[in-house]
Each structure stands twice: as C-alpha cells, then as structure tokens.
C-alpha cells in the first residue's frame, strides 16, 4: 500500500477526464425532482451542488483515478468498507446547459490507521478540479474513510445521565418543561443563585423563589469532550460554562456551527429536557424531511452513484448497516436546497460538509442553520441517531 501512496503522491494531478454527458436539462431535472428542489433558477444553469455528478463514473469505470486506486489498495490491505466523511466544494461559477466538463484529481493525503467509531481505518483525501476547456469552474477536497468494521463492539448506551431532582432543585427542571430557564432568587433579599439550594448564602433566608432568565449569556469556559464515551451522547461535543446575563453561571452543552471561544455570546434553547446553548446568531427556519427508501434510491441514481449501499438493503446489511443510507452527493444537494429555499436569491459559492452518523431509510432528518455572517450559513442535519451532517454554505447575494 505504501508504494501505491507514494506513487500517487508523486504523480500529482491526473490527466483531464471528461464527463459522460455535457451539462444537460434531463439530468438536472432528474436531480431536482429526486431532491425535491423546486428552485426556479435551474433551467439555464445547473445546481452548483451537481458538480460532482457530471463526472461520476457510473457503472463503466474508465481510467483509474487516485481515489479509486487507493480504495483498491485499502481493500487489499483489509479495509473493505467505505464511507465518505468530508466534502468541501467551491464553485467559481455556475455551469450552463451545454457546457462540457472534465475533472482532474490528485491524492492529497492518506492518514491512519485511526480508531474511529466505525472501526479501524484510513482517511484518504483527494482534491479535484473541474474544468470547462481550460477554465477551472469548481474544486473539491473529498475525504473517505476506508475501514474494517469493529467486531463485537457494543453500541453506546442510549440512556443519557439523568438530572438529580430534589425538593431544592425541582423548580429548575419544572422550568425546563415549561420552556423557561429559571434562576433561584431569594424571596427575602433578592439575591440570584445557581446552582440552587435551600438557603440564601447572602442573607440566610429559607425563602426560595425564582426568576426567569433572559436566556442570553457568554461563554466563560468550555471543553470539547472526546473520550471516554458518555451514555446517550456522541463525541465530540462541547460543554460550556456560561455567564448568564443575570450574573450567575451555568453548565450546558453548546451546539454551534464552529469552534466556540471564550466570550462568545450564546442563547439558550431546550432539547431532551436540558438547557442547551447556541451562538447568538440569526437562525434559518428548521426543515424536516422523512427519509424514505424511494428518496435514497432516486437521489443516488440522480447523482449517478451506483454504490450498492444506497439502493440494496441486503448489501447495506452485509456491511453492518441497518438499512440503505443517503449518499454524500445527496447530503450536499439537500444542504444546498435548505439554504436556497431560505434564500432563493443567494448565489452558492461553496458547500463544505462533514458527515457524522449515516442517514438511513426511515430516519427523520432535520436541518437547522445559523447565519454566521452575510456570506456564510452554518448548517447541522440531525436524525434520532445523532448528527448526520455539519457544514457551512458560502453564499453571495
């Protein structure tokens, strides 16, 4: 395998490989229909998230590319399974119907063996550039994990650690149920306090009352938890120590589009009976879709991805999956749809995503988004299994 890696690294970029068809309306319409994307702008121009589709190999492989060669080498080295983990696409411009696209790829890195939640494996990263004639029109950094499935591994215990509710703390948890973040307030001197207790440390009164917090705060400190596994949670995740606007501190998970910093403003929401914090930024209305076998198969075919795990449940099961699952080109397409449904006028400049837990047939997928800046929207797609995708979409209006 080492020799394959060094040969591919030395070889650099491949010769251009032409797509089977020019950019064409029937494939665009198939793609839009499968994605459920009703954006009116794609009659002359192709959806940018289709870029990879134009040069997919389909069922008739031609000249080998670095990704394919590394896949074969890792198959032989005993890492037969594959998942795509990252896709960072940059679109220099939209493609017009009729344009001919070719692609050149190079191997960027091969790292491993790494222990992952799926099993031991290697990350293979390639960089592709698409051209119309000599003009680069899009680039993509693409990462896959080639792995051997863990044997006899036990799934993460599903039951999260429960709050400890006592006579002194019940008001806080009743508040969560009521959609309020409550802070203990002394009924005598008015002092605020968290965590709560039966007495007021300031005046000694045993007169517990509460006030409802504004839900705004800043990050005083935080940690990103990686190991060991915590019941009911998927690592890595961020836990913050939040300075509430009211002057008390509180610990809670922070979910957001980017690494947090001390001092970041955050706002509370409630999930799973717990207060959770997110960056205090404008949000994109959430979008929920039911992931059916039909949707998985039609989008896989519309993206010219004929990997068996996206249409053949028996094949998916043989590779350790409960069902067929959404391919990464489709996740990219759904991310684009989520953003352009919200901002129909936006020109999509790039989509960078990282995949987490697979999205299987029967799952309910919910996208949430945050407007990080005028040109950047951060998205998260979750199913009941965990975070399926996180990423950012670069837009220009």
């Amino acid at each position: 395998m080492d020799s394959v890696v060094s040969r591919l690294l030395a070889a650099g970029e491949t010769e251009p490989r032409r797509g089977r068809d020019p950019v064409n309306l029937p494939m665009i319409r198939n793609w839009l229909e499968a994605m459920g994307d009703r954006h009116p702008g794609y009659e002359l121009f192709a959806p940018p998230a289709m870029i990879q589709v134009w040069t997919m190999r389909g069922l008739s492989p031609g000249a080998p590319d670095p990704l394919q060669e590394m896949s074969v080498a890792l198959d032989e080295a005993g890492f037969p399974n594959v998942v795509a983990t990252d896709s960072e696409q940059v679109y220099h411009r939209y493609l017009r119907v009729g344009e001919e696209v070719s692609v050149r790829s190079r191997l960027e890195s091969v790292t491993g063996p790494k222990r992952t939640s799926l099993g031991e494996g290697w990350f293979v990263t390639t960089v592709s550039t698409w051209f119309c004639d000599d003009e680069p029109v899009a680039t993509m950094r693409f990462r896959i994990l080639k792995y051997r499935a863990m044997s006899g591994s036990s799934p993460v215990a599903a039951t999260p650690l429960k709050p400890v509710i006592t006579a002194d703390t019940a008001f806080f948890w009743d508040g969560i149920t009521a959609g309020e973040l409550r802070i203990q307030r002394c009924g005598e001197c008015g002092a605020l306090r968290h965590p709560p207790g039966p007495a007021c440390p300031r005046c000694g009164a045993l007169k517990q009352e509460h006030t409802v917090a504004s839900g705004l705060g800043t990050i005083h400190s935080f940690t990103v938890h990686h190991h060991p596994p915590i019941p009911g949670r998927r690592a890595p995740y961020v836990v913050g120590l939040i300075d509430l606007a009211e002057g008390v501190r509180m610990v809670g998970e922070v979910r957001g589009p980017r690494p947090v910093k001390i001092g970041d403003p955050v706002r509370v929401f409630f999930d799973g009976g717990l207060p959770v914090w997110r960056p205090d930024l404008p949000i994109v209305e959430p979008w929920t879709l039911e992931v059916t076998p039909t949707m998985i198969i039609s989008t896989a075919l519309a993206t010219r991805d004929f990997q068996d795990v996206h249409h053949d449940r028996d094949a998916a099961a043989r590779r350790g999956n409960p069902d067929i699952f959404v391919n990464i080109l489709t996740t990219t397409g759904l991310v684009q749809r989520y953003v352009t449904d919200h901002r129909p006028d936006a020109v999509v400049r790039g989509i960078s995503i990282r995949l987490g837990t697979p999205c299987y047939a029967g799952d309910t997928l919910t996208f949430t988004g945050t407007v990080v800046s005028g040109g950047e929207i951060a998205i998260v797609g979750r199913t009941a299994r965990g975070v399926h995708v996180t990423g950012t979409v670069g837009v220009a209006s």
Partner: protein, 379 residues
Amino acid sequence: MISPTCAIAGIGATEFSKDSGRSELRLAVEAVRAALDDAGLRPSDVSGLVTFGMDNNPEIAVARELGIGELRFLSRIGYGGGAACAVIQQAVLAVAAGLADVVVCYRALNERSGRRFGRAIASPDPDSGWHHPMGLATPAAMVAMVAQRYLHEYGAVPDDFGRVAVAMRRHASTNPYAWFHGRPITLDEHRASRWISEPLRLLDCCQESDGAVALVVTSLSRARDLPQPPAVISAAAQGSGPDQFVMTSYYRPQVASLPEMGVVARQLWEQSALTPADVRTAILYDHFTPYVLMQLEELGFCGRGEARHFVADGGIELGGRLPVNPHGGQLGEAYIHGMNGIAEAVRQVRGTAVNQVPGDGPVLVTAGTGVPTSGLILV
C-alpha cells in the same frame, strides 16, 4: 495547632499494576502488613485505622484479616484524593489526643481492573446533577473546563501542560516501582496524544492503577525507638474554599484557581514556620497536569499565572529549583489517590528514594486538587 508530636514510622505498598489479580481487601492487608513490618510493629500494636471515604475496605475488615483485635479510632475522610494528607492529619489528631498509639492510614483500589474513575457514572449527588446530565461527566472534562480558562487568563498554551507530563515521565523512567519505568515521553509525543477533553490530551491525564499504600503514624517519641528514621509531621492541614464543589467549583469569581489549596497552604506555612523557599522537594497531586501549575502558584512557589515559566525553566525537574514528584507522580508511578506520594515524601526524608533529592530540607505533599483537599510538611 499541630506541633511536631507525631511521625510517619512505616510505609508499605503493593506493586502498582493495571490488573492486580487480587481483591482490594487483600491489597489493603498486604500494604498495611508491609507498613507495619517497615515500622517494626505488629498488628496487635495498632489501635487506629483511617482511610478514604471512597475506599471499599472497611476498617473492621482490615482489622479482622490482620488480627489487629480491638480498634479505638476509626475514621474516614471524604472527597476522593483530597483525603490523602487528611488521613494523616486524622491519625495525628488521634495520637496527639492520646486516643490511639499507633494509627495506620491505608488506601487500596483496583482502579484499573475494577471500577475506572475515568468513566462516566450516574451519581445521585445533587451537585453532580448540574454537570453530568449536561455531558460534563468525567474528571478529565471537569478539569478541562478549568484548564481552558487558565489558558485564557494567563496566555498559557497546552505545551505548558505537556512539559509537566514530560517531567513526571522522566522522573518515573528511573523509578523501578513506577508503571512507566523506562518509558519517558517527549513533548512531541504529548502533542500527538489523542484528545480526552480539550484542552487535555491523554498524556495530561494520570494513569488508572491497581495497588495499595499504607502509612504508620505514631508519636515522635515512640517513632524514635523504631527501626526507621522518623519522618516528622511538621504540618498537616485540610481545607475547602468558598463555594466549594467537587471538581466543579465553577461558580466562584475565579474559576482558574484553587482557593482550597490556598487554605491548606496558609496553614502549612503557619504550623511549620517554614516558607516555600525552604522546601527541598514537593510531592504535588498530579492527576491532571494543569493542576500542577496551579498548585505551584497557590502554594506560593511562583506568582499567579507564572508557573509555566517556572516549569519551562526546568524548575520542577530533578536538579531544578523545586524538584516535583521525584518518583514520577501519579502521571508516572501510579495513581493510588495520592498515598504513594506520601510514601515518596517519607523516603525523601529518610534519604532512601530512588531519585533522592539532596539536602535535608522539608518535603511538602499535597492531596487531590479541585476538591476539598489537604497537605503535609514532613521533616
């Protein structure tokens, strides 16, 4: 006030391992017997037993197995590793009050092969209910929250934590009793070790160990008649700070500080009439590297936020201004909840340590950090 009326007259331990293959009670019995042998005493001489609130071995069970007979003093101290030096203080109080002649302090645990402290558990403690359900459920994560703030406030970087780990592993590398004997690490290895809870990496966290340590406390006059040179207890202190929690004292104005260790430090200096400059070597509780930096500051060995310079200048190395944990600490030797550190302090006083620090100055020992804690000065 503790005056130097008592001494540690015997130390005993099992081997330190990842799988003792024996019950915790048996480890306790082996360590207590070894400590008594070291002190030249018999089980029948023992009138008191003290251990940690977390220890699974009842005093009466240890007494039964060793044939100690009657006990006149039984005591336990809570708050995990914060108890380490406080159990000695309990023994001193009992001996000084005339309640007991010989008190043995012990701690025995199969912490690697049995219940691993590093794992998350569902605790019924109301205080933990503000942290565990939110995903902050392991000691490393709880320390990481403080460590991140420490980095922020003082402009320190994770390498500053790494240098502590490197020093401890270097010390352990020449200690045949250490789990990491012969296995020093480099700063690059620290940087490459996997994240546990950012900003803490694997090599910032002490090991999980199986083993037991026991220490025999008796009056100074009796200790002088025993075979070993007495390690005189010059100071023994316990402390908790304002708004104290166990590992999660996040609700104080200063999160990146250890005021409970300040409470202990002030008492140690006052009781002993010593100053930080007098200390020959310090055994600092090192379950996680950031707290070694913060202890150096809290104990007065350097100013607030300056420990990283002290460490980068080699201050904690053998031959440095203040050699810290010559045995390799809990990062290098074993994690026996701080009790192996007290045994090392006794060896340093006796002059029998494998990495002996020259001189005859006092030896300082601290107990668990981030919790109500304790400390000792031995001379």
